[in-house]
Subunit: 395 residues, 2 copies
């Protein structure tokens, strides 16, 4: 069978292969990119789904508008307003997880050969998603304060990209958060070079201490002309439930209309059953308590992982303690002749019954094989301590 | 903003514009392509969703496998077996409605410029979906027994298409059902020309009297080598609920693996919440009763519409009485100087407070402006009779 030529640009990820090993009994996994099932507000979602099927069964079970189920768009508009983003319900579309927002951006914007700038490292599924549409990806370097905007400007000037894709808050895999100053700089670059900026923000609500800086979308009101060059992707997956597959995208009207047309032929619309359930949940007023709960639990786990890494691995790794999100991004320093290849460490770690994801696949260009990603979301504090101890032994 | 070049191949459908007029008070609509909300088994789905969130909340709310939630794949495999298709759970993937199965087929198979044969007329969203991937569509003519296989063979031989897309049972918009003899011929053509056949089957369960012939997929066991050249798309949308967005695709392993990879970057997976609910529903054993109910009600409506069309429009229209599905496909004959342009009739009909969809947009090539599609699904018998009377007046 002869497949479409666009498939030549992607491969099944190395990470997927690793995940097959995670079934090993007794393994402690820091490999996943998902929230802890124990955090789900099952009772709240039960009530919400029953209410949806009692009060609005017709809407919840019938075909719906491609743009999204109106009661959910209204709730999401209100939710975004609490985060400083002024958006009406018709200024956003509901997507089947924020993964679909990325897919629709690819379908709508990227012609084969178009250049797209991403952070190095960035979310693996974004790399593959955009490559399927023929994008040529260019990596902009980051540090603990997110993408280096001076380097980003050079790359924009040189490559004239179709869009710049950033995860500015608690990035995956980097855990890094773009500073307020750099956020403003990104907005200025958008206007100066008339370049579309995509802000992917699935983790922004998941902060442990102080709230992070406002989203780039929220800050756009301070930079004239920038809002028309911004798309913002949100998601309920990390804070409420990934299984609902509820994401959304805020974008300029013309882009939103084209993305909606593409969505019509992608899946017609996102499950109205899931949308009505999410709308009832948001309306119920339980979200603030749920957010407080996940922030507290993940915060403790992040604390425990940071302390354990220092204790067990010492100067063999360097990392910045994340203030939110799900991930530690670490780098093997090779100090004292220790291993500096994360792929090799991943193999040894599996033997010691602990798993993580090597960092190299997260780079669209110039992979750094010394890097690794550790999720602290799904193991409790005791398991985190035991797992990091095993990691130290593997090293 | 400069959008991707693939968007040049499609336009927002004329039908979408028509749908904006349907809000007019007092209108009777035969325009929709959706089932009647009053048919939904709300109680059964309430129970199923509660059971899913009680017995398997972790699975129903967490990220899931891209291929589909295993309990649902198991149920769908059993469901297909009752319809004569021998498929294991790993021989199918769950899709976000069968629209997504079409999208994944486009993404996986179609390179820009590839030729695809469809029926003339065919499902509008298939035309647009495949065009977005750069397909050049070729129309194969149909009659009351579905696609004319002798003409189809000529087109396959001439164009060597990437795939042939058919809705063999109660087609949309045609209502036509491919005869048993022609089904076998299609399978022989697949093998003879080594051409992928896509069987889209959202309506096959919705028959009013005798069951239709077995699906092409079910018949493939009689034609050696044909199964490896067949993809079959199924859906719960027309018989249970479109809002769940549960479809599935059966295909050869290599195609299924590539489509799964594409799905990973399209929406990661279909809502596990909706999948677990659908699995519980199928497991509950209520499906046969639900099917019996929808068959009976839609059967009565189809009967009423056929009789009313004869009574009110006489020889001004020709049509074949459908034995299942949701649609009448009719042709204005122009007899006795009556109108033969369905676009013009649609405008006059709206004035008389009745709506239908003109047939021309359903043709990928050579539109027949005398054709129209009438759905009998959402109006009850009294409204159908009144609506067709208005249609007669408009004519």
């Amino acid at each position: 069978m002869q497949f479409a030529s666009r498939l030549d640009n992607v491969e099944t990820s190395a990470i997927r292969e690793l995940f097959k090993l995670l079934g090993k009994p007794g393994i402690i996994s820091f490999a996943g990119g998902f929230p802890d099932s124990a955090m789900f507000d099952v009772e709240g979602l039960k009530e919400a789904s029953q209410k949806a099927l009692t009060e609005e069964a017709g809407g919840a079970l019938q075909y719906g508008a491609t743009e999204g189920y109106e009661p959910l768009r209204t709730q999401l508009s209100a939710f975004m307003k609490t985060k400083g983003v002024d958006v009406e319900s018709n200024g956003l579309i509901v997507t089947t997880g924020s993964q679909q927002a990325l897919d629709l951006l690819g379908k709508t914007m990227i012609s084969p050969g178009d250049k797209v700038i991403v952070e190095g490292p960035t979310f693996l599924a974004t790399i593959q998603c955009f490559r399927l549409y023929g994008a040529q990806l260019i990596s902009a370097p980051i540090d603990a304060n997110g993408v280096k905007t001076d380097e980003l400007e050079k790359l924009i000037a040189e490559h004239k990209p179709k869009l710049v894709y950033l995860i500015p808050t608690f990035g995956n895999p980097s855990g890094a958060t773009l500073s307020l100053e750099r956020r403003k700089k990104v907005l200025e670059l958008a206007v100066k070079y008339q370049t579309l900026i995509v802000e992917d923000d699935p983790y922004g609500d998941l902060y442990f201490g102080e709230a992070p800086p406002p989203s780039i979308m929220a800050l756009s009101k301070d930079v004239s002309g920038s809002r028309e060059l911004l798309a913002h992707c949100g998601s309920l997956s990390k804070v409420l439930s990934p299984g609902l597959r509820i994401g959304w995208m805020i974008a300029p009207p013309e882009l939103l209309a084209k993305a909606t047309m593409c969505k019509q032929f992608s899946d017609a619309h996102t499950s109205t059953f899931a949308q009505a359930t999410a709308a009832q949940y948001l309306k119920s007023g339980r979200m603030p308590r749920t957010l407080a709960h996940v922030r507290e639990v993940y915060g403790q786990r992040a604390q425990a992982m940071g302390a354990a890494l220092k204790r067990e691995l010492g100067d063999a790794v360097s990392f910045t303690q994340p203030n939110g999100g799900l991930f530690f991004w670490a780098r093997l320093t090779g100090a004292n002749g220790k291993l500096a290849d994360a792929n090799e460490l991943a193999k040894r770690a599996i033997e010691k019954l602990v798993a993580f994801v090597p960092g190299a696949p997260f780079f669209a260009e110039k992979p750094d094989v010394a890097t690794l990603r550790l999720s602290f979301a799904t193991a409790d504090v005791a398991k985190i301590e035991e797992g990091v101890k095993r990691l130290g032994q593997a090293l």
